[in-house]
Subunit: 170 residues, 2 copies
């Protein structure tokens, strides 16, 4: 199970891309690529007192303005206490605005302020620049494959969250 051809590759040629060696390479590719993926925003964030968690919060609030804390919790997959600390500093610094829900006053609806949108833009621009350059290098067909593999690798629940975001955007 650990070495040689994967247990699933029973026949020949057609499934040669499923050898353990190929899978291993996929794993390492993900590891190194994710490092590159986060490197540029991380550099910007470390100039301020923020970290990757702040980036994630700002990103998804920008993506779904007015979203509730609970909503964000599900997308980010962290505990509410962990998210709360990040939100608290973002609110204190005037990047995020928290509005008490009109229908259900237990809920807090989150919006970026102008200053928040500014930071989001800087971070996104940096991250998009790298992705744009990668996409341009490899062409649309490779990009389509990339997206299909990533989608197949997500947990079912995240697949749904991802699709929902995709459809809400534009």
């Amino acid at each position: 199970m650990t070495n040689g051809r994967s247990s699933g590759a029973i026949s020949g040629e057609s499934l040669l891309f499923l050898t353990d060696e190929q899978l291993q390479q996929g794993i390492e590719a993900m590891f190194f690529a994710y490092r590159g993926f986060t490197a540029d925003p991380d550099r910007i964030l470390s100039e301020m007192a923020y970290g990757r968690a702040h980036h994630r919060a700002v990103h998804f609030i920008n993506r779904s303005p007015g979203t509730t804390v609970n909503n964000l919790l599900n997308i980010l997959g962290v505990t509410k206490q962990s998210l709360n600390r990040v939100l608290r500093t973002l609110i204190a610094d005037g990047l995020v605005e928290s509005r008490v829900g009109e229908i259900d006053r237990r809920e807090r609806h989150l919006h970026l302020t102008n200053e928040g949108r500014l930071l989001e833009g800087r971070l996104s621009d940096a991250q998009r620049a790298r992705m744009r350059s990668a996409f341009r290098d490899v062409g649309p067909d490779a990009v389509a494959g990339f997206r299909r593999v990533l989608e197949a690798m997500m947990d079912k629940e995240m697949q749904r969250a991802y699709t929902r975001l995709k459809e809400s955007g534009s």
Copy 2:
């Protein structure tokens, strides 16, 4: 720069996959997929007193047996203090063996013990299973595209490290 067509997409149809919206979706796909990618090993690791950092160390020691600490440091991109803490526990627990170099006796060459290989196998099997299922779902062409995009997204230095590993493996 922040909304609408990316600044790089000057002409029409052929570069439509470089809109900010498309890039945004790529970013979110990476985020959600990476969560899935680490979820299975994380579950196994949390049963013991180990974390993702231990997984990474064990993975790359398995991949390049006899590698030195310095080598590992470069691949993992952390400080020696951070790596050392992890290695210390792995060695103390008898999963990793550290041998003084024969040519240069300042170096420590790292190897997995049988017990270490056992853990590595459990973790890799879990991670490979997910990747195998994703690869099988989408087919070889999409996988090739996936790998090409990831490679293009890495920092130059990591690209070299990745290629070296790829070529050393079978």
